[in-house]
């Protein structure tokens, strides 16, 4: 399938991204139309036209559709897109920085840190905003600790960064256990456990709209940094000889990817496997060049999480935490991808 694929062919870059964007659009419409009150594509388009003032719609009907589409379904759809794109692109970026296809965004302890932060917020009975802020800042603290450990032992070496990540991840996991142990087992503990399984049900439209611009900016920045990642994949000396400021490039990518992963935890808790699996599928489609792989991962990840959320919402009468769905889907997909991808790794 990939044997005769030439990524350098003119137009194939925009073609691939266009096709992936088209799939995402189709899924968005599908997600907006399915639910307890099914809507046809025509209804949605009619509503869109009406809200732009191009078409007439009875006030009562408009209010109903506004409630279903904008207030109930849109926040989840937007959250799924933002989180799926963020997790996938940061996974692909981490894999590029660490030159290892088995790395997930949690390598440097960002998810462990964020999980602890959120649990701490819940333990202190903080407001929803406080929980989110605590998750976000502890995620960054997790990576900061990893970088600190790496710095203390050996300049910019990748091995030290990985060790720093292991230490930081273990430290925050231990802190999380303390919080769980201290939490009231009647009320707070179940809240923490369920929150850690990941769910999009608590996201609000304000949250997602507010995050839309920064997340897009970070995704764009990572996509631009992709060419540097291709060079650093060859080794540090070679990348420097190709004019790449290796240290700066590495920290810039880690910084963008960390911010993105922290955002996902603060929005929806721990959603596993997306950041590990999606980059592999994207690599099968685009080849390993990061300039194309990174945006493709973002688009594919958004589609994957949107799809997973549809299943989470509709598989049973009770909503299933989306983190469980992504794990259940992610593992078989990963096994299939491993069979195909292993060929080129040489690892």
């Amino acid at each position: 399938m990939l044997k005769d694929f030439h990524p350098e062919k003119c137009g194939s870059r925009s073609g691939t991204l266009g096709a992936l964007a088209l799939i995402l659009c189709a899924l968005i419409f599908h997600a907006l139309s399915t639910g307890r009150y099914p809507l046809a594509l025509g209804d949605i388009l009619h509503f869109l036209a009406a809200s732009c003032g191009w078409a007439d719609m009875p006030g009562e009907r408009y209010a109903l559709l506004y409630n279903i589409l904008v207030e109930i379904r849109l926040p989840r759809v937007l959250a799924a897109i933002l989180i799926g794109a963020s997790l996938s692109i940061s996974g692909a970026a981490f894999q590029g920085v660490f030159q290892n296809p088995l790395v997930s965004p949690n390598l440097l302890g960002v998810l462990s840190g964020a999980a602890f932060g959120a649990a701490l917020g819940l333990l202190l009975n903080g407001s929803w905003f406080f929980v989110q802020a605590s998750a976000f800042s502890c995620g960054i603290a997790g990576v900061f600790l990893a970088l600190l450990v790496a710095r203390a032992f050996g300049q910019d070496s990748l091995l030290m960064l990985i060790l720093g990540g292991i230490i930081s991840g273990a430290f925050f996991s231990a802190l999380l256990s303390i919080v769980k142990y201290a939490a009231d087992p009647e009320n707070t503990l179940p809240g923490i456990v369920i929150w850690l399984m990941g769910s999009l049900s608590a996201t609000t439209l304000e949250d997602t709209l507010w995050l839309l611009a920064p997340v897009m900016a970070l995704i764009l920045a990572l996509s631009l940094l992709g060419r540097w990642l291709d060079a650093t994949a060859m080794g540090d000396d070679e990348a420097r000889a190709l004019g790449v400021p290796v240290g700066f490039a590495r920290y810039a990518v880690i910084c963008c990817a960390t911010l993105l992963s922290s955002v996902t935890v603060s929005l929806a808790g721990m959603i596993g496997w997306v950041g590990l699996v999606i980059p592999h599928i994207a690599r099968l489609i685009t080849g390993p060049g990061h300039r194309l792989l990174l945006p493709a991962s973002a688009l594919l990840g958004a589609s994957f999480l949107l799809f997973s959320d549809l299943v989470a919402r509709n598989a049973s009468s009770q909503e299933i935490p989306i983190g469980i769905i992504t794990e259940l889907f992610g593992i078989p997909v990963f096994l299939i991808v491993l069979r195909r991808a292993r060929r080129g790794w040489n690892a």
Binding site: Q99, A233, G235
Partner: protein, 275 residues
């Protein structure tokens, strides 16, 4: 060679310490267009350190490296990359990039992160591929190539960079005999068309065959620097490697060194180089 000659890389009184050990001690070395300079030295003699200093990857403790008279730190990585290219020993990439993608990386110093790949970039890549005669490999994953093919792809990348000076780290290491000879012929061709080439090597024979100049590195200093036929003798080789050799001439006038007798008693390693 005068200081102002175009495309000249010049190390002046280069000193480098690793801990308390002196790895390079006031090393002077110059190479420029049209030359193939072979750098010989035993394992651990500081060849790689010297190479990394010349490439601006290591900051020397003393002395400096100038490119066309300008100190490397003042040039900046981006500009340096368009004048000086580095060909490492053939290695394995973690992801299956195609040969075309690998060679296209050579254009990174020119198009940077923002600009898209231009027609000029594409032309330079095609020319480099054609010159190394690996156009047929362009869509093959680099991870699936043989060692010799990988080395050719890396040289093609250096050519795509547009640099006139190329530094190669043991370019023939790990290649079979045929690939070694073809690679040497290719280097000679590049030098004849105006590239300046510095390579480290463990083969005095090959230095004798293709190099225009030879520099011997031992005891942290360049012990000799000049035309191969003058510098390379059974005496210097014994001093460099601790092996007694004799010089043979083939019917066509080519020279080679063969060891007199292989014995484990020959001293080697920390021996003193006596000029």
């Amino acid at each position: 060679m005068p200081e102002s000659a175009p495309n000249t890389l010049c190390a002046e009184r280069l000193t480098f310490r690793r801990g308390r050990r002196l790895v390079l001690d006031q090393v002077d070395l110059t190479f420029g267009q049209g030359e193939i300079l072979a750098l010989l030295g035993a394992n651990g003699s500081g060849k790689t350190t010297l190479l990394r200093c010349l490439l601006g990857l290591l900051r020397p403790d003393g002395g400096m490296v100038r490119l066309n008279g300008e100190p490397l730190p003042r040039l900046g990585r981006g500009r340096l990359a368009t004048m000086l290219a580095y060909v490492p020993q053939a290695h394995v990439a973690p992801f299956p990039y195609t040969v075309h993608e690998i060679v296209l990386l050579g254009r990174l110093p020119r198009h940077g992160l923002w600009r898209s790949v231009s027609a000029e970039d594409r032309r330079a890549v095609e020319e480099a591929l054609a010159r190394m005669e690996i156009t047929a490999l362009r869509a093959r994953p680099y991870t699936e190539l043989s060692g010799g093919e990988r080395q050719l792809a890396l040289i093609a990348r250096a050519l795509a960079q547009g640099a006139r000076l190329i530094i190669l780290d043991e370019p023939v290491a790990g290649l079979d005999f045929g690939h070694q000879m073809r690679l040497l012929a290719c280097l000679r061709e590049l030098a004849a068309s105006g590239f300046g080439i510095l390579k480290t090597t463990h083969h005095p024979d090959q230095a004798l065959a293709v190099a225009t100049r030879v520099a011997l590195l031992a005891d942290a200093r360049v012990q000799a620097d000049g035309p191969p036929a003058e510098i390379l003798s059974p005496e210097t080789i014994e001093r460099l490697y601790g092996v007694k050799v004799e010089r043979l001439s083939s019917a066509s006038g080519q020279q080679t060194f063969v060891p007199r007798a292989l014995s484990m008693t020959t001293k080697h390693g920390a021996m003193e180089y006596q000029p």
